[in-house]
Subunit: 412 residues, 2 copies
Amino acid sequence: MISIAILGHGVVGSGVAEIVLHNQEGVAAKAGDAVQIKRILDLRTFPELPYAHLFTTDFQDILQDEEIRIVVETMGGLHPAYDFVKASLLAGKSVVTSNKELVAAKGDELLAIARENNLNFLFEASVGGGIPILRPLDQCLAANRVLEIAGILNGTTNFMLTKMIQDNMSFADALSLAQQLGYAERDPSADIEGHDACRKICILASLAFGKHVLPEQVHTEGITAVSLTDVQYAAACGGAIKLIGRAVKDETGRLFCQVAPMVVPADSLLAGVNDVFNGIMVRGDSVGDVVFVGRGAGKLPTASAVVADVIDEIRHMAVRKPLFWGPGEEGYVADYRQAAYARLLRFTCEKDAQALVQVGQVFGDVRVLSIPGAPEAELAFIAPALTEEALEAKLASLTGMTLVSGLRMYSA
Amino acid sequence: MISIAILGHGVVGSGVAEIVLHNQEGVAAKAGDAVQIKRILDLRTFPELPYAHLFTTDFQDILQDEEIRIVVETMGGLHPAYDFVKASLLAGKSVVTSNKELVAAKGDELLAIARENNLNFLFEASVGGGIPILRPLDQCLAANRVLEIAGILNGTTNFMLTKMIQDNMSFADALSLAQQLGYAERDPSADIEGHDACRKICILASLAFGKHVLPEQVHTEGITAVSLTDVQYAAACGGAIKLIGRAVKDETGRLFCQVAPMVVPADSLLAGVNDVFNGIMVRGDSVGDVVFVGRGAGKLPTASAVVADVIDEIRHMAVRKPLFWGPGEEGYVADYRQAAYARLLRFTCEKDAQALVQVGQVFGDVRVLSIPGAPEAELAFIAPALTEEALEAKLASLTGMTLVSGLRMYSA
């Protein structure tokens, strides 16, 4: 019998309790030992629950209980989660968490503490909800050098973009529908401004490339500036706009890492990942492209990943997982302004022969796009790959043209 | 330093040698120890290779070498692969294989021998080439009851179907192109008659549901009867024909397992898996649908999965993997004729009002399909879900209508 504690009885924490309690036999069979939830930390009480007697508001009840071998942290946020997780590890308890903010900010430190104490710090649920991604990335792809990771890492924004693409819904309407359906929080900024996706690409990049990538090192653009017109132009060039978190090593070894809405070509596997689904593409030098798709959030999907980590920890109580990365460093992530992207550029301007001549002179060969009902004074085209700096110089040299939007084109 | 041996220096075996030799530092870093290929078994000699001195034609050189801890079997076929693998396990060597025929036929027995001898028998590469699927299925989804697995498990037939769908190529031309490109063997029957996909769904079903499923228990139809006309009718109803291997538990606990070309709806993630890619959907009771996509075959993708297993075995030399299933039994797989599927039925008949009345009387509400250029005397429609037996009874009751094809509709 292995005793565990759960920190935080919110959506994920209550899901963990539900799976462990309702599926006791299955979990015991898989883990090779019975799992008992001994304590649940929450400031609230839940007198109606059959396991109401397990609740405590005092973390010391868990920390000082030597029977508790595994602490499951599902509180979210940095504090007090960080303090509780660190204290648990220092007290000899392995930790399983779904908290992406914590892992993205403090993963290297907590992994090092776990290693020093011969324990495990596991966080499969922190990226892609229930999709198995971190363990396959670390373990099954051990024989590959990872060249790139690119993913749709946030289900809320993917739902909104899907509604914009498929139902011609405006950004505001899509957001309000996402809120009605419980996919978006009342304050949706972490989703729509890209911070959530940023944390996840930090975790993936840290694991794939071996050093901690901090969220503040990752240039992050959300989808708040994406309009229905952009969506239509993307369709006109055979693509779909997706919020992409991307970490890629170029030929010279520079690591580029960013989050931005990008136009994904229709024949890419990521283009077909719709609604609240997440999709993560890993490119290895031997295996080529492998894509993992599934629901990236939600109570039971995420909780099932947490429980799988708990089971894995119990199965291998004495064995340290290889999952690890070292501390980051300044300059480890290259300046995003040096990454070259083709762009879908949209301008307000006179759409006459002179404008096209000017565009040709400045950008070379471009592919001009048209959509039904476009305003007369609008010109949209795909410009060839340019770094941010080169693009800015070219934009500055244009006369009589005002840039409206400039989405990156994702290309493999 | 860990010594390994490779049985068979064909496509996969030479790929394993290539990855281990060209990527020695990376493999050693991941495995925590250096890996040395000590012997390679092949009847041929390869004097031009820098490692020509490692070759032997005598399996005893490997079996009796106590330094060799891991045997990598990439010969394919049942014999002598089975005999060599069994002997290796009995001699105290863990085995890693890419041989789906072996695992599908003898997996339960070899897993049991490995367990008795406190060794591992690993075969991630036997399904989905380089796609991590068996380990995620076993480990990350430990907290889920698996309800269904459905996948595009054979890259050759998926390539051919993609050419038929996208380029209007005939079956014969698509096959000949696949052979030219090296995707299909000169004798393509294992691919196009579904046997390869059958072996893979056997392995997936055995692992997911806990008892061995033998290929002869799985009703298997290939794609040899799929015509361009079927492809066009599938498109007319918004779907794409894919060769699907499927294992599903129904509400009463019966396990259905079969391989057949099915019409997959366009909004399914599997519908977008094209060319030589494989795609495998796993449905768990907590996580929902998770899909894994990647190249399902090829030298380096498959070899990278083998090497990942070798690395994993070295990392955890002393630990037995949980990967396991028990022996199968007669009647474990339910009669496929009891599984109900909606069908895309195509008949030669007079297409008059009377025919439609008859169809309505026999099948109830159907959705009649039309394609440009269809012959006058052809009627195609989607009939509601029926078991094989019920369908046969209905077909027998029709007068003046000859069935041309009857593809199953895949529905989740």
